[in-house]
């Protein structure tokens, strides 16, 4: 992509980097400027609600994945194992505990402030509860649960929605007490408006991958593009970011280019990336001209495919719906059907499942999904295993063999049927 021809290329990545750097700096200075800090998880997060009280927000999984990308997670995990954590438990938890034990210096070298509030949004991951119970033990700070029922019946029930709304309303006095800021309904309305605006733009980027060739990699690029929608939602800069990022994608469509110079295979990817070997994993697929046109991981925090947007006319209810529908809170038959429908809508040739040991919420059931994709719907499916945080589980040679064999046979099938 030459400089003369393109005006916006690289903006999505660079702008995101700047926003995250600014955010980490804000976190470092939070205490000195009198801001209170809330820790919460990415899936189904209630950022809009906490912004009403002017909390600075810390997302421990984001710290963990950033450590993975910067290849510091291995040492941090070992540090946590030294104090008794098993080698078989979630690497994100161990990364976070290891980081805390080493003075809570975050991935970008800035200090992550201690929490004033731990708000555990229980959205499809039981390990979240154990994680924050441990943080409550180590930091000795209040732990508040936001109990989000799993979509066990395949759809939102009004009982579950109201249950979340009632819980949020009951948390208000504690948030007011911690921050000294009164709840302000208008601020909540404003935050949800910002969110909806950003979501509309983000969805356009995600849906752009329906083009051929796809202008966007919905897995390897989406993991960077999606950061603002999870950590800065509810703020005006979130929508600003997506406005700029959409320009980059639109420009790619206009010029018929995409992230893969010569798109040969379109895939749907399920599961989180192997952060400590992110680049290596991408290269293994790029080698075969693979572009991820849809992924479940980009919906790990929230799910907009079926039209959901934060709704300022009923902010509490829409926050509840956001929590309920994030990908990890959808039941296994819903997840399976979603991936199948992605394969159809995005015209994908195959499904790739990256199964990670750390996250059983994601991984248990993926092997069963593969059986269904292959047997019921005749969709070629590759399942590979490693981890999202622990570099010890990434077996490069083994992965290469499996990936090469799969795409070689896919290519062969194409040749034969041509």
């Amino acid at each position: 992509m030459s400089e003369q021809k393109f005006k916006y290329q690289g903006i999505g990545r660079d702008y995101q980097k700047k926003l995250l750097t600014d955010w980490y700096e804000r976190l470092q200075n939070a205490k000195s400027v009198g801001r209170k800090v809330a820790y919460l998880f990415v899936p189904g997060n209630v950022a809009e609600f906490l912004r009403v009280f002017d909390f600075e927000l810390v997302f421990p999984e984001v710290n963990a994945l950033q450590c993975g990308v910067r290849k510091t997670s291995g040492d941090l995990i070992l540090k946590a194992e030294d104090v008794g954590y098993s080698s078989d438990v979630c690497g994100y938890v161990k990364n976070d505990i290891g980081m805390m034990l080493q003075g809570n210096i975050g991935p970008s070298g800035t200090e992550i402030p201690k929490p004033d509030l731990l708000l555990c949004t229980y959205c499809g991951c039981t390990t979240f509860i154990k994680w924050f119970e441990a943080l409550a033990h180590f930091y000795d700070v209040p732990l508040v649960m936001l109990d989000v029922p799993y979509l066990r019946d395949g759809e939102i029930s009004d009982t579950d929605r109201q249950y979340i709304v009632e819980q949020l309303k009951e948390i208000i006095p504690l948030c007011e007490k911690i921050t000294g800021n009164k709840f302000n309904y208008d601020k909540l309305v404003e935050a949800t408006k910002h969110s909806a605006e950003a979501e509309n733009l983000w969805v356009q980027i995600l849906h752009s991958a329906k083009h051929k060739p796809s202008p966007f990699d919905s897995y390897f690029e989406a993991v960077f593009f999606m950061a603002p929608i999870y950590v800065l939602r509810g703020l005006p800069e979130c929508a600003d970011y997506y406005r700029e990022a959409l320009k980059e994608i639109t420009e790619r469509i206009e010029h018929g280019v995409g992230p893969i110079p010569d798109e040969k295979v379109r895939v749907v990817i399920e599961g989180p990336p192997p952060w400590p070997h992110f680049r290596a994993f991408w290269e293994l697929l790029k080698h075969w001209g693979v572009c991820a046109v849809a992924s479940s991981y980009s919906k790990v925090g929230g799910f907009w495919d079926h039209g959901f947007r934060h709704d300022y006319t009923q902010p509490f209810e829409s926050i509840a719906d956001y929590c309920l529908t994030c990908y990890t809170n959808q039941n296994l038959p819903m997840r399976t059907e979603l991936l199948r429908s992605y394969a159809e809508e995005y015209n994908a040739d195959a499904i790739v499942i990256h199964s990670v040991k750390s996250c059983r919420s994601f991984s248990v059931g993926q092997a069963d999904m593969r059986e269904q994709f292959i047997r019921k719907w005749n969709i070629p499916t590759l399942l590979v295993e490693s981890d999202l945080a622990d570099p010890r589980y990434f077996q490069a040679a083994q992965l290469k063999n499996r990936i090469d064999a799969f795409f070689e046979s896919l290519e062969h099938k194409r040749l034969v049927s041509a």
Binding site: D88, Y122, T126, Y150, S363
Partner: protein, 385 residues
């Protein structure tokens, strides 16, 4: 039959993965339904009120090879999930009309989804337990969850479930829990009269029988236990923690006891004594069950604790049980147990209480290294604590 002979006879029943008690019951009650209950705690009262048989489904305990389930669940997942699926795929659960899973962990939750896909002829419930114990809406929400189960059971059985039915079932299970608790009181006050190996078999048998039959059996057997003529030994009083879902091989409990320990408390088969007090028999039965879960449950790694941290309850249990040391005995890959271990052992270190730890799997067959570990632990508690 002597008490010891009875125990060995019961062991053959609990070891039989073809579920003979279920086939026998089905023969006698061909029109009635059987519901499988995955651990840790499930509301046994509800299917009972619908005239169904509730059977504990605790995996295969290493009794079968995992041939088919391997293609559906990865190797880094606990044995109980894989062997339970294997039981299903090898048609050993064909007499079950429904299965209950609960929100204890992500594995159990996703297993419910795998079940829905692979066994469409069986009714599957995934029960959401409240995790926000401080919220005033939690009892109402959990009550609605129980009401949904009741409606589904009515559909399955074709029988209306009345409040009277529910109250009768609650009463029946209250009685059973009292009896199970009596076994634990014996284990604590006179551990030489009842080993954990024996107590476990008696309780596990209850997961395979109609509750009335089990209560009757316990009513007959408890006096026999109390009259046993056995001499107390100079053993260390330990508590086993972490075995609340997947069950350890019974030989492991034997090894711990043979190495010089009285296991005076544990979290095995926790549902048999889940509530700290009887579920009230006045008022709305479903609300009583809901409030009992939220306000009167024992602590467990799979139940969030609200304002009363688990580590505090854990220490209280150690104190009230006059426990000398703790054995953390968790299944491999069990995140709730393994993650809690660090917090709980920190508390033990703060209070200078001895502990040791190891992991187990269903297929575990050699226990000699654990025997040596426990013997060393016993010596250290006896002579240095």
């Amino acid at each position: 039959m002597t008490f010891e002979e009875k125990i060995e006879h019961f062991r053959t029943i609990i070891d039989d993965v073809s579920f003979p008690t279920v086939s026998n019951w089905k023969e006698k009650h061909p029109q009635q339904k059987v519901v499988g209950m995955f651990p840790v705690y499930t509301p046994y009262e509800l299917p009972h009120a619908a005239g169904m048989l509730q059977i504990g489904v605790y995996g295969a305990g290493g009794k079968i090879e995992i041939d088919h389930a391997d293609s559906r669940i990865q190797s880094f997942v606990c044995s109980i999930a894989r062997s339970t699926l294997e039981l299903g795929l090898t048609e050993r659960l064909k007499n079950f009309d429904a299965l209950y899973f609960t929100s204890i962990c992500d594995v159990a939750r996703n297993l419910s989804g795998i079940w829905q896909t692979n066994f469409p002829q069986q009714h599957v419930e995934y029960i959401h337990f409240p995790q926000n114990m401080n919220n005033t809406s939690a009892p109402k929400h959990y009550r609605a969850e129980l009401q949904k189960l009741v409606s589904n059971l009515e559909q399955l059985s074709g029988k209306k479930i009345t409040d009277k039915d529910l109250l009768q079932s609650i009463k029946t299970f209250n009685r059973n829990r009292e009896l199970c608790l009596q076994l634990y009181q014996i284990k604590n006050s006179t551990p030489h009269l009842l080993s954990t190996y024996e107590a476990y078999i008696l309780l596990r048998l209850g997961t395979l029988l109609p509750v009335e039959e089990h209560s009757q059996l316990l009513e007959e057997i408890i006096p026999q236990v109390q009259q046993r003529n056995r001499t107390p030994r100079d053993f260390v009083r330990v508590m086993v923690e972490g075995s609340f879902c997947e069950q350890p091989p019974l030989e492991l409990m034997k090894v711990i006891e043979e190495s010089g320990c009285y296991i005076v408390d544990d979290d095995l088969l926790l549902h048999t004594r889940w509530f700290n007090a009887s579920v009230p028999l006045n008022g709305d039965p479903l609300l009583s069950l809901a409030e009992s879960y939220i306000n009167r449950s024992r602590y467990s790694s799979v139940r969030h604790y609200g304002n009363n941290p688990r580590k505090k309850l854990f220490l209280e249990k150690i104190k009230s049980g006059k426990v000398d040391g703790v054995i953390f005995c968790a299944p491999k890959f069990c995140e709730p147990a393994l993650l809690d271990y660090v917090v709980l052992k920190d508390e033990l270190e703060k209070h200078n209480i001895a502990y040791m730890t190891f992991e187990y799997e269903e297929k575990m067959g050699v226990f000699e290294s654990i025997r040596m570990q426990v013997e060393t632990f016993v010596e250290s508690v006896m002579f240095f604590s």
